[in-house]
């Protein structure tokens, strides 16, 4: 590795560390998506039916939709605060490739918002009467799928960060792109529940995340440059 590569790596690590420190100092903000996730899922047994078999059937879909919405809720935090305090301009002016800095920020954001959803998901699986196997597959599917949610989300926020009130617009841009994650994620859990092999779903989910990993940081960096312009 040459010096440039080393310094870009250390710039990325510094950025992850910076964002994690800020997240730890704003712990309240960090809890919001998880609480939202829990509340949305627990509304279904209350409003639709407490019936065990029906819950079991709808459970995987409900949990995934709630995870999508919780991710969406926290998404703006990835670039908007930086845009408001001017540090985003400094990142754009950094000599390091913006796409890699964006990747570092997305990683930090996933650690703060995606990971807590995965940790809490077994509890919600139990609430939805999922079997033990299905809960394990749910966790696996979330681990494979939530990085794609953050990566795709970063593109959407990159596009809309220059707009003052972008909440609804962001959902309109992002949610259609989340559909493959939703289909394969919920599909994997449903397959596990009827004792089918969830592996094809999980592999497709993983490939979708890898695809996002390759392309989203580039797209997001380009979007940010346009937004800052």
């Amino acid at each position: 590795m040459n010096d440039q590569t080393v310094s870009t790596m250390s710039a990325m690590m510094a950025l992850v560390r910076r964002d994690l420190i800020i997240a730890m100092r704003e712990r309240g903000d960090m809890l919001q998506p998880v609480l939202f996730f829990i509340i949305v899922v627990s509304l279904f047994p209350l409003s639709v039916t407490p019936d065990k078999t029906l819950l079991m059937q709808a459970g995987p879909g409900i949990i995934w939709v709630a995870a999508l919405l919780a991710t969406l809720l926290a998404l703006d935090g990835i670039f908007r605060p930086d845009h408001e305090d001017g540090t985003l301009e400094q990142l754009v002016l950094s000599p390091h490739p913006l796409s890699l800095l964006v990747l570092a920020k997305t990683l930090a954001h996933w650690l703060v918002t995606g990971l807590p959803l995965i940790i809490i998901s077994p509890l919600l699986g139990m609430l939805m009467q999922l079997s033990g196997d299905a809960i394990i597959v749910l966790c696996g599917a979330l681990i494979l799928g939530t990085p794609a949610l953050s990566l795709i989300g970063a593109v959407g926020v990159g596009l809309t960060v220059g707009i003052r009130k972008s909440g609804v617009l962001l959902s309109l841009v992002i949610l259609p792109l989340y559909v493959p994650v939703l289909i394969f994620g919920a599909g994997a859990v449903q397959a596990a529940m009827v004792s089918l092999d969830p592996q094809p779903h999980l592999l497709l989910l993983a490939s979708f995340s890898l695809f996002s990993l390759a392309f989203c940081p580039l797209a997001s960096a380009t979007a940010l440059k346009i937004s800052v312009n």
């Binding site: 510094a14 950025l15 800020i22 001017g86 540090t87 400094q90 754009v92």
Partner: protein
């Protein structure tokens, strides 16, 4: 300072026939400027005359409608990474994270900018001392006054060790002593063969023979 003030290698920014539109209004057109190491340009003009837009175009943050900017004879778009490594920009906002301390802000700005983290670690405190805000080192930036934040932002620019400074109203919120400090830092930068392009409603005590003025009202 731990860094001896080695003179910067010579460089030159040449902008030709720049035009900037905001909506349907033309802010300026046919604007050309040249500045080389050891010199400063003071961009003046009424509010809304396009001073900030011009500086952002010169940084490469915004694109000009027409015209091009060369740095040492190369278009800044084609050598953008190298250009940015030699540039430090101070915008309207001080670019400080409110939830980080002054020290943490400087270190993370240096690490994501053009200085290695280890080097920055030992020098960030010195630069805070240089700007007279060393007592804010471990305080969160959200608790600081606008003037203190501006001083930390100036510390970031000086610490970047970049030969080219582009400063948008660097004197904002600074007190008399802060302005004098800024003037002396700018003089020191010019003496080191640095280059400064700035906007300001205040005058800075800079050597006249090194200072060019560009007024955006006339174009």
């Amino acid at each position: 300072m731990s860094h001896p003030l080695n003179p910067f290698p010579s460089c030159r920014i040449e902008a030709t026939q720049l035009a900037c539109l905001r909506g349907f209004n033309s802010l300026f057109e046919g604007l050309s400027l040249t500045v080389s190491s050891g010199n400063t340009i003071h961009v003046t003009g009424a509010n809304g005359s396009g001073k900030t837009s011009l500086l952002r175009i010169l940084c490469g943050l915004s694109l000009a409608e027409t015209g091009q900017i060369n740095w040492n004879g190369n278009n800044i778009q084609s050598v953008s990474s190298e250009y940015r490594a030699n540039l430090s920009y101070l915008g309207h906002k001080p670019a400080l994270k409110p939830d980080l301390t002054a020290y943490e802000n400087l270190v993370s700005a240096a690490a994501t900018g053009n200085r290695a983290l280890r080097e920055a670690d030992s020098t960030a405190t010195e630069y805070l001392r240089l700007l007279g805000v060393v007592h804010t080192r471990d305080r969160l930036c959200r608790q600081l006054s606008a003037g203190q934040k501006q001083r930390i932002a100036v510390a970031r620019v000086v610490m970047s060790d970049a030969p080219m400074w582009i400063l948008d109203e660097p004197g904002t919120s600074l007190d008399t002593e802060g302005m004098e400090l800024l003037s002396s830092l700018m003089r020191r930068h010019i003496e080191r063969n640095g280059l400064i392009i700035f906007t300001s409603h205040h005058g800075f005590d800079l050597p006249i023979d090194r200072l060019d003025r560009i007024c955006l009202d006339s174009t």
